[in-house]
């Protein structure tokens, strides 16, 4: 912790110094980055987005830069805080495009902010390789914004993954078919609960408890008590980080006895295992990575070395991968011409830390991790839509 | 013991008090008379250090100038003011109001003794120690206010219209209490009052202000015979009654 504190102070000092310093060498490739440093999504951005921006820039520059048609050009990041405010995101992207005249812009953080920025990316022809946008409107959106790419998967795919994992556990005889499902009453939670409900029912599960709670609820114990009272075999929560932590803690306290315990965003954060330690064992969460794969392990090591923090086991690697896509597309196209780079992304597949990324005709990445599970202190992918490296799901042991 | 010299108070363009001077001797009851807007309340507030307007002049308490001191320090010099509207803590109980009266260091040593004497002065307060002041009648609230002021162990007690809105009996009780304050506690009393009956009954000395200036001073009888005072009060055409 102490080290991180110092690091942040150092980073702040560097930023101030950089603002005063003369512009970097002319041949640097200027890359814009916009994301929340403050506001409601700052916590998520600080875990998933900003460290990867830093890591990617360090990695690229350590290699001497991006090879653009034969010249190695280092990258220079121009970063702005959007305060989790779509108006600010729009302003910042616009500023990057016309004032800073950056060569490329990394996609912003979260669904809402990506969509707010999409028209501006579109107008200037920037390829927009999103990493943390989940939507089921991929077809419509890519028709409207042809250079927008979707990587993280949609609600339907994630819901399918969860249902498959539960079905697998049930078919193995590990759990029964009683499911308690709760969601945060926000776009993400509502969308996923809506997608999961019919699929659970179609798979023969009985939803014995279902409810939503508002963002910012300070006591989730009534919800957990309700879930316990319904004696479910599996618990599914479409939650955000603060409530993911709170629901898990309540489940421990209320001793929720289930064979499958699923919480959504935040479960894959290293802080989750840090906080719950052995109790995290067997907890299912959204996302996942091929945790045993060399690519990820090497990435995780660099992440910790460069940023001082561990990556999460879902969107971190995905975020980094989209940067890699951009990097490889620039090298592949051999130019900084945005249209050419965007076309290159459409036409090619990319080798990244999460494996191969190949966008389909709707600019959608069809193969993404959907469910992961804490096993032995590592959050391992257990279900995906076509990713390699899934491990078998285990039944949730009793809370310790 | 209190001497106000050439005191002026102005609120913006309006001069409420224009070089007024008042002298108050030890254990005297001095009344300041004057029509509404004559600057009487401004004078008391200026002495207590809580006047909002611009204040110029000297306020000498036993020779020391207290003008411009912070109000809590003036209290600690032994000056207690019961302002117009009484200024009691309406949401607090009688005994809390009285305890607050003895807040300053000056009053603490004698708090218990003073409390007994206040209770003797206003026996009614003893019966109602725990009552919330807001729920009391105007006359009773005035007792709380004066009692609280006496708890600060003052050398001089200033009262701004202590009997406003009271009926005759209440007024008489209050007059008696004010005499007690002088006679039994030996405290100087400076008061602003309209009720001439009461003024005549209790005051040693009267000072009449009009238009921000002193127009007369003397004993009650002298002042009452003063033509200028009569004119100010009952109008010019009134023959002597």
């Amino acid at each position: 912790m102490k080290r991180r504190t110092l690091m942040h102070l150092a980073a702040a000092a560097v930023a101030i110094a950089a603002a005063a310093a003369p512009a970097l060498a002319q041949d640097a490739l200027r890359i814009g980055a916009v994301g929340p440093k403050t506001g409601p999504l700052a916590g998520g951005g600080a875990v998933t987005f900003w460290p990867n921006v830093q890591l990617w820039a360090a990695d690229v520059n350590a290699r001497g830069g991006i090879n653009v048609g034969g010249t190695m050009r280092p990258v220079e990041i121009v970063e702005y805080d959007d305060q989790t405010n779509p108006g600010e995101t729009i302003k910042a992207v616009q500023r990057l495009a016309t004032e800073d005249q950056v060569d490329f812009i990394l996609a912003p953080y979260s669904t809402g902010l990506n969509l707010a920025a999409a028209p501006i990316f579109d107008r200037f022809g920037y390829p927009m390789v999103t990493h943390t946008a989940t939507t089921d409107k991929v077809a419509e959106l890519s028709a409207q914004f042809p250079n927008m790419f979707f990587s993280l998967g949609g609600a339907q795919g994630i819901a399918t993954g969860v249902v498959e994992v539960l079905t697998g556990l049930r078919d193995r005889g590990d759990i029964g078919n009683r499911v308690a499902m709760v969601n945060v009453a926000d776009a993400f939670g509502i969308e996923l609960a809506g997608a999961a409900r019919p699929q659970l029912e179609a798979a023969g599960f009985e939803i014995v408890y279902e409810t939503s709670y508002p963002l910012g609820t300070q006591d989730l114990s009534p919800i957990m008590k309700g879930a316990v009272a319904a004696t479910p075999d599996a618990f599914v929560a479409w939650s955000y980080p603060p409530d993911t932590f709170a629901l898990t803690e309540q489940a421990v306290i209320e001793n929720l006895a289930v064979g499958a315990f699923f919480t959504a965003v935040g479960t894959s954060f290293p802080g989750y295992a840090g906080r719950f330690a052995a109790q995290a064992e067997g907890v299912l969460g959204v996302g996942g990575v091929h945790a045993d794969g060399a690519a990820f392990q090497e990435y995780a090591a660099r992440h910790e070395a460069v940023t001082g923090a561990k990556p999460d086991f879902w969107a971190s690697a995905m975020t980094y991968s989209t940067f890699q896509v951009l990097e490889q597309a620039i090298e592949g196209a051999g130019t900084t011409d945005r249209a050419a780079v965007a076309q290159y992304i459409k036409d090619n597949a990319f080798e990244t830390v999460i494996g191969t990324l190949d966008y389909d005709e709707n600019n959608n990445n069809p193969a993404f991790w959907t469910v992961g599970q804490w096993q032995g202190g590592v959050f391992k992918g257990v279900a995906s839509t076509g990713r390699e490296g899934a491990v078998d799901v285990v039944v949730k042991p009793a809370w310790q | 013991m209190l001497e106000v010299r050439a005191l002026s108070v102005a609120y913006g363009q309006h001069r409420a008090l224009d070089g007024a001077s008042v002298r108050v001797g030890r254990a005297e009851i001095v009344v300041i008379l004057g029509a509404n807007g004559a600057g009487k309340s401004s004078l008391l507030k200026a002495v207590a250090g809580i006047c909002e307007g611009r204040v110029a002049g000297e306020v000498l308490l036993d020779g020391g100038d207290i003008a411009g001191m912070a109000p809590h320090r003036i209290v600690d010099q032994g000056v207690a003011l019961v302002p117009e509207g009484r200024g009691v803590f309406g949401d607090l109980a009688v005994e809390e109001n009285l305890a607050l009266g003895a807040y300053g260091p000056r009053a603490r040593d004698e708090e218990a003794g003073n409390l007994d004497r206040v209770m003797a002065l206003f026996p009614k307060l003893g019966e109602r120690r725990r009552q919330v002041v807001r729920t009391m009648s105007g006359g009773e609230q005035q007792m709380v206010a004066i009692g609280r002021a006496m708890m600060s162990n003052p050398r001089i007690l200033m009262l701004d219209e202590p009997v406003a809105g009271m009926n005759r009996e209440e007024t008489e009780d209050m007059a008696r209490a004010i005499l007690d304050v002088r006679d039994e506690w030996g405290v100087t009393v400076l008061l602003v009052e309209h009720d001439m009956g009461m003024v005549m009954d209790i005051s040693d000395h009267v000072c009449v202000l009009n238009f921000g200036r002193r127009i007369a001073a003397g004993t009650p009888a002298e002042v009452r015979a003063d033509e200028e005072v009569i004119r100010a009060y009952l109008g010019a055409s009134r023959e002597a009654a």
Binding site: G39, D81, G87, T98, A116, E191 | -
Partner: protein
């Protein structure tokens, strides 16, 4: 109308025409800033129309703004876009009227917190209703670009200024100035203060709602957390107070420098933007207690004094 009024009107028209030309001669970046300025000019000016004379600080802007974005988001698939703006306006005005009837007797800080609570309440109810109906974040996919949005906001700004000017010349406006100076005198002069205040409260309600409806296509994706963000209410208040609420153009002279200030801070202190913003804020409060209007008026008075 007096000669000065004709001059002011002419001046305003020139400014409007010049502003409307921004998309043709400015860079897209300046257009984006133009949208921001136009949006806050509309919100802050209409806010000050009510809060200036009455001294009520309303933090309900986000509530009405959010309502407006939802009108567009829900209605865009069913009704023509141009119909949505007046609908948003009516809904905003009606809600503001109801709120006003219920709350304008609250004084000072109670009203402030009430309006804040109101925004949260509306947001919670909409969130819950969305959850109940299973609707997710709403998409507003239109062909409206920054330029069209800018012009709409500019038009709305013109309407707000015209409305403010007309109100200023009307009995209502006169009544409100009296209320602002001394409510007791106002009542004893025969003014129904409650009715005047409620009527006026409907103006920022309607305007903020229409602004939300215009902005919705810019955000593309509408969800309660973004549409009802309380920071909007605070920003509007601060910009208006920074400018000064005593004049119709007061908030505008707050909005423009504030927008450039935030822009400057965001650009040069991306990691410390909140810190620098906060410090800037303290400096403003301490050095400009009466806003820019006070500064300008003070300078004018001094200039007059120098001539005299």
């Amino acid at each position: 109308m007096t000669a000065t009024e004709w001059r002011d009107l002419g001046l305003a028209l020139v400014v409007l025409v010049v502003a409307a030309g921004l998309p043709f001669f400015g860079t897209p970046y300046y257009l984006t800033l133009g949208v921001t300025i136009a949006m806050y000019a509309v919100l802050a000016t209409s806010w000050a129309l009510f809060s200036g004379p009455t001294h009520y600080i309303s933090l309900a802007t986000a509530a009405f703004f959010g309502l407006g974005t939802y009108v567009t988001a829900v209605g865009i698939d069913h009704l023509p876009y141009w119909l949505l703006l007046p609908i948003a306006g009516v809904i905003g005005a009606v809600v503001a009227g109801l709120v006003g009837l219920a709350t304008l007797r609250l004084s000072g800080v109670y009203f402030v917190i009430f309006t804040l609570g109101l925004a949260e309440f509306i947001r919670q109810v909409i969130t819950w209703a969305q959850n109940l109906m299973g609707t997710r974040g709403l998409y507003v996919l239109t062909d409206l670009g920054e330029r069209e949005i800018y012009w709409q906001l500019l038009g709305l700004a013109a309407l707000v200024f015209l409305g403010g000017w007309l109100i200023g010349r009307s009995r209502l406006g006169f009544a409100l100035r009296i209320i602002g100076d001394d409510e007791e005198v106002a009542r004893h002069s025969g003014i129904d203060t409650a009715r005047a205040k409620v009527m006026l409260f409907m103006v920022p309600g309607a305007v903020a709602s229409i602004t939300g409806a215009i902005i919705a296509p810019r955000y593309v994706y509408i969800e309660p957390a973004l549409a009802f963000a309380p920071i909007l209410s605070f920003t509007v208040v601060i910009m208006a107070l920074l400018g000064g609420t005593g004049r119709l153009w007061g908030p505008l002279v707050g909005v423009i420098p504030f927008t450039f200030l935030t822009e400057w801070v965001a650009r040069w202190f991306p990691n410390q933007s909140t810190l620098v913003m906060g410090l800037a804020f303290l400096v403003i409060v301490f050095l400009l207690p009466k806003g820019f209007v006070g500064l300008i008026d003070g300078a004018r008075a001094r200039a007059r004094g120098a001539f005299a």
